[in-house]
Symmetry: D2
Subunit: 458 residues, 4 copies
């Protein structure tokens, strides 16, 4: 998970730095560990990166400094780091200095076979500093381009054709930019427009956030080249019959107000999942409630369908950072107690609860929440999950644990129910999930459900 946001001006006088900054603020949910900007300055490419939140790294002093260079191309990134890879060297945009100028690349996605792909290039002398797919894409493109003088476009296309993986990426070179997306369209990638400036973004919420208009999705397999004059050229480098849009973007990642993969708003998608859950697993209860914030939309959908009132019974402390670590107490129950509080009083009297969450990964956080609700007085807890059991790790950019850690991989639903100590447990069926995709007039074949069915389309 990461966020990509870029803007190419029509050379109007708008302050692009503030727009890029806002864009990144609206993609902060896709990565809170680091952020970076590449921008052009009179034919040069400059880079600013840092660890932490966008608001902290790109404070007003830093933004004024960048704006003083009057950039008209900006390429930004928010990073979600995986364990042990949170050093500055891993932050994007990645860049190299070539004789033809500095080149910067930012990407959201993952190359499953990265280690082997790197080895092939390393044998030919290419040097890598990270295990980051962005660095790999940048160097592979450069390696291929170095044999064909100056032709970055064909190098990008060749890279796209020869690299199996997921990437919503942009490569910036002096006063030009190449925007490209893997042929499976695995991660979202959107084109927008604001006062004549071109914007690309991981999610539409960033378009709304900066007051820009949605234009279209960047096509899977498409390369968009914007040259020094701001002229846009689109090349459909590869066209596959089937896409592999990540269904988990709809279930968990994307912001509810975003529209991705040609679907309607993500929040509405989740609401309908909740309704389907209610039909599939009805049960008598006093309230429907959700694990905030990821379960909210599905819980309301469940409540409407089941005609059981929705109530907020869990409150989330917004000041607990994602990467919060307590020395010696890193267990998930501890973290869950820090992050969530229970409305206790109501549970003492009306205590039959339907609890809706988006998914179960290890099960440990869910278990801790359920324990807290029991302590508060909940007598019956019926857990409803708005996605099928996760039985496989993701290879395309989601930081899921190994197969061993996935509870649904090695346990039956009844075993999970017992482990979580809930009175009943209902997972959305894969069929219902696919049907929900169809409802938006999309084909389920164009989505990747590998975490639920082990069929990796890439």
């Amino acid at each position: 998970m990461c966020g990509v946001f870029g803007i190419i001006s029509n050379k109007s006088k708008e302050n692009l730095v503030e727009i890029a900054y806002l864009g990144l603020l609206h993609l902060q949910h896709r990565g809170q560990d680091a952020a970076g900007l590449a921008y052009n300055d009179n034919g040069r490419v400059r880079i600013e990166k840092g660890k932490g939140l966008v608001n902290h790294i790109f404070n007003s002093v830093k933004r004024r400094e960048i704006a003083s260079h009057k950039p008209w191309i900006i390429l930004g990134h928010t990073r979600y780091s995986t364990a042990g890879a949170d050093s500055l060297i891993n932050t994007q945009p990645h860049w190299i200095d070539t004789l033809k100028g500095r080149q910067a690349l930012a990407s959201n996605g993952d190359i499953p076979n990265l280690i082997n792909e790197k080895k092939i290039l390393e044998k030919q002398g290419v040097e890598f500093y990270t295990d980051n797919d962005g660095e790999f894409l940048l160097k592979k493109i450069n390696f291929l381009a170095s044999n064909k003088e100056g032709n970055l476009l064909s190098a990008i296309i060749e890279t796209m054709k020869s690299t199996a993986g997921s990437y919503s990426a942009a490569l910036m070179v002096r006063d030009q930019i190449f925007i490209f997306r893997d042929p499976w369209g695995n991660r979202p990638f959107i084109l927008g427009e604001k006062n004549g400036s071109i914007i690309f973004t991981s999610e539409t919420c960033a378009l709304d956030g900066v007051g820009a208009k949605f234009v279209r999705e960047i096509n899977p397999g498409e390369v968009i080249h914007i040259n020094q004059k701001g002229e846009l050229k689109s090349i459909q480098a590869i066209e596959l019959k089937k896409k592999a849009h990540c269904i988990f973007e709809h279930i968990y990642f994307a912001r509810p107000d975003s529209k991705i993969f040609g679907q309607k708003e993500v929040g509405a998608f989740r609401y309908r999942l909740g309704k389907k859950l209610a039909k599939a697993y009805p049960v008598k209860a006093d309230f429907v409630t959700s694990v905030p914030d990821s379960g909210n939309f599905a819980a309301i959908g469940y409540s409407v369908e089941a005609k059981i009132p929705y109530r907020i019974l869990l409150v989330r402390n917004p000041y607990i950072p994602r990467t919060f670590i307590m020395p010696g107490q890193q267990n998930r129950e501890y973290l869950a107690r820090l992050k969530y509080s229970v409305m206790k009083e109501i549970l003492k009297t009306k205590n039959r609860v339907i609890l809706v969450d988006d998914s179960i990964v290890r099960g440990t956080t869910n278990k801790a929440i359920i324990k807290m609700m029991r302590e508060a007085g909940a007598k019956e807890i019926h857990l409803r999950i708005s996605s099928p059991p996760i039985i496989n790790p993701c290879h395309y950019g989601i930081n899921t644990p190994t197969q061993e850690e996935l509870i649904a991989c090695s346990h039956s639903i009844e075993e999970i129910r017992k482990f979580l100590e809930v009175d009943s447990l209902g997972y959305l069926s894969l069929e219902d999930l696919k049907n929900n995709v169809k409802k938006n007039k999309q084909k389920p074949e164009n989505f990747c459900f590998a975490c639920f069915n082990k069929k990796y389309p890439i």
Copy 2:
């Protein structure tokens, strides 16, 4: 608004620093601008303070350092700073070095007549460095104690008797601590217990957060003295017939899972306000929705009472800090657009909305949100406010604007409706608010409604 949290150990081996840290994390919503800890170290009082979030100031390195002193009394504070007063000198705990040792004080509240009260002491030679009520309390107590050798307790009582204002405070002296609360009980102040250790906190949510038990409220007008041996002595210094609990704690400040002022959980209180609103201002609509997160409970209450489905139509970006300032663009519309996003798709088809919020202060943020909803397609917007019109600034610790800025001070409800461009506007009546207090078996006379009715009880 501020948060106070303290712990006095029964000399068990528990790491008090981690508990105090968790406590402050759970009072972070009462102040995000600064935080501080005073702790005892072998008969000395040490202080650690900083600007920013608790998690940032008291990182694991700092906590280990503090824990190495093995403190068994800790007094913590989270600070909500008012404009122009965000420098480190204003952070609490305040402290002075006397010959009898360092003394540290942390307080939540406000002394309305602070400027004049300070002048009286200044004439007698007392020196102040801030306009902070905590510094005032500390120095007044010391001034009074300096004439009566060593008798801090009587100085505290004398200060309580002679100072009109609001304070939930604690004074730490070497290995002793005095906890005291103004006789009106204006701000919440709670006593708890964990494994024999005594805890005091602004809200019960911090007790739950650290795994402690609720014992009782600290009485308005009570002083609790805990001596070097951990012996607790309670003195009822003043007893007034009427209290002046801040009703706005229930409406907006306190966390929904907290229980304060002997009432039930704050979230339940708000839920019932929503129900009363629904009865008072019924209207046909497709959905009830809320301004997150402050309107959530009342909106759900409204929805249940009105039998109109609750839907999330506004999404809040949790990464926009409270003190977020954009150079040259500080208008509230800009900030509202940064902070809130609208679920647009649903509003295009079903677009008659009841929007519930907790209050209207200036009206500018509400107006911006309504404008965003209109742009997204809302045809009818019926605004429901779960509190009466605010016609007066608060003198006891809430950072409200001046009378001129309060829209309800100078405008009729119809004028406000037009300004906000909503189809209808309903404020909860003061009577309904008072009735809701009664429902919890409390007397409305014991609450301060001054912001709604200008009757300042203190």
Copy 3:
């Protein structure tokens, strides 16, 4: 060793902060570990302190900030920290907040019996945070003053009468300052004047450095009180028949261009010591040279008297900080090699050298230097020391090692010569040192030679 510098304006428009800053820069040789300023701001006392060099702590931003308060009393300090005591809490000025206002004290000197003196006050309830003599003086004065309302002057005098030790100190209270010096006059303390402003300083070099005039020494046992109107009152609190000026200030500490203890310039004093050394220990050699910079003046004196040419054979690297520590290689030979380089070529041909240094403490650094000179080709090295053997630690402010570490304490001069591997070794006699004092028309009885003769006058 420390430096004290203060200025009290005649309320002219001069920027006192810049003057105080320059003054501290010129006292940097007396302490490089930390520095601090106390200054008045409208009846209040504010403090700024930091670790490191004056130039770093009081950068232009910080100085502008301080100047914005338009202080007209400033009290500054440069700190030379002893092992294990380099934390910020030890930096001066020390301060406490009393009800009558903040009080700040800076001091150069030492209270030999500090531990016991503190215990007496601790029994009466006084609390200490450091083992610093400045904190002790501040709190003792306050303790004594607290019984006699407001009379700081008599408390200072009582403190001076009852505390055996060395202090050149100043106590700042609101818009007043008290400057006082121990009755033995152990450390230098000078009064100056610049455009009507009063200056006090540890050494005259700071007067020259800020363009001020020398007025007189502050008398041993004198208290100078400067009140809110800038009126100066001098009280001779104690008068002893004999003083105890530190002779080591002349030998090593003070800057060569300073005049202290009513003597002529320190550099001239050292020059004459060199001449006396030459008379006492003549030897044939090709060159006289010095360990820079402390031996320079004496070496030139030796050269002139002995009519043997002076040459620079050792070069000092000015970028090696005093507190330079190499992990795992803290031996003094290593440090000596880092700090000093030898002019090798000349030593290959003309290699009989008289090496002049100011003193021998442990002997290890001297040994390392001599080894380097031998390696470079020196055949004969005749070491001449411009002070007598140090046989005792100092109790009044000089950070000398324990008796065991002092080589002259346990070794004969011949043993030292062998240890250092020099061809001859000559120490200045105590008589010659005393005679040199007499030459400046001062009485040796008024100086402390305890490190040479164990007679501690205080």
Copy 4:
């Protein structure tokens, strides 16, 4: 002015980081504004750079971190920045990421025609980020190499042949390093050896400082290639009949204990210049003295020759940094007063002084010093300069002012004397300077005297 220091291990177990660190500490006098290290790590090149002093940037934490990578090639640099060019981007080593790996280059010297040289490459698409000659060399070499796959050596030779200018440089590529020096040998560049490791350094003082042996000068026009196996290959790329060693290294820059350009120790060179000055400009006086530290050796030479005693009359404050700037008071008199103090007492009685300095640039600092000496009582001041009048700016790496600012460019010696208000003024003749070079058995034709005679040899 800059310093270059590198070490290539014979893969022994010595900690190269500590050696490189010591080496840079001993080249700190050649640049105090920034420093950097490139080092190899398992076939990669890593870079650490910072602004400030070596001791500060490469503190023990940083050194341990670098040492953990077990580098066996280290390339270091100390930077002396010119006005307006002190940002981090200008610090060396410069580096670029090529597909064949990161390349880092550090250099001491200057390319006079840099602007035009850059333009030629810019037309061919090469991108520059600084006006730094190191970046130019790095990119020119890479540009030339990119046409001839992998052959960096021939690109370096081609660069050396086609670039007129001064450079003592090294280029590090993965596990190899190329060390090369301009054919004029303008800046010093030395080869050393320590326990089998190869060292290169700007001055021999760094060899002594790390306990290494002098091997030889790197030849002007030589390239030394050290491959992955540590094998050293020397190529004499260009051989010119005449060299252009910078004579100012001998007069001012180099540390006195260094041996450069095949000459004897720099201090001895300066000493003889002083003797020649004494012969050329004899005068009666009480003392010879020097402007410390640059005039010390020449002053002693003058003193010995003239048989007039040498005395230290000016004391330098070592804590005033080179880049010290006072807001609003940047005039040089102010700085001179900060930096130098006068021994006043002696000047009151014996006050005919011969003052020796190494050179006069603008004349303003000299004038300030002379004024201070006059104020202290000097009656006669005879200024002796141990170099000829500087009538031209340097084009090869010395930060001299423009021609207009050079006082000797537009004023006769008598005019300068009057401006400085000295009683007599004697400059060393160019002939005497050349004769002094000859005395060391070197040919003056191999030195650059352009600042004195406008004959630029490059």
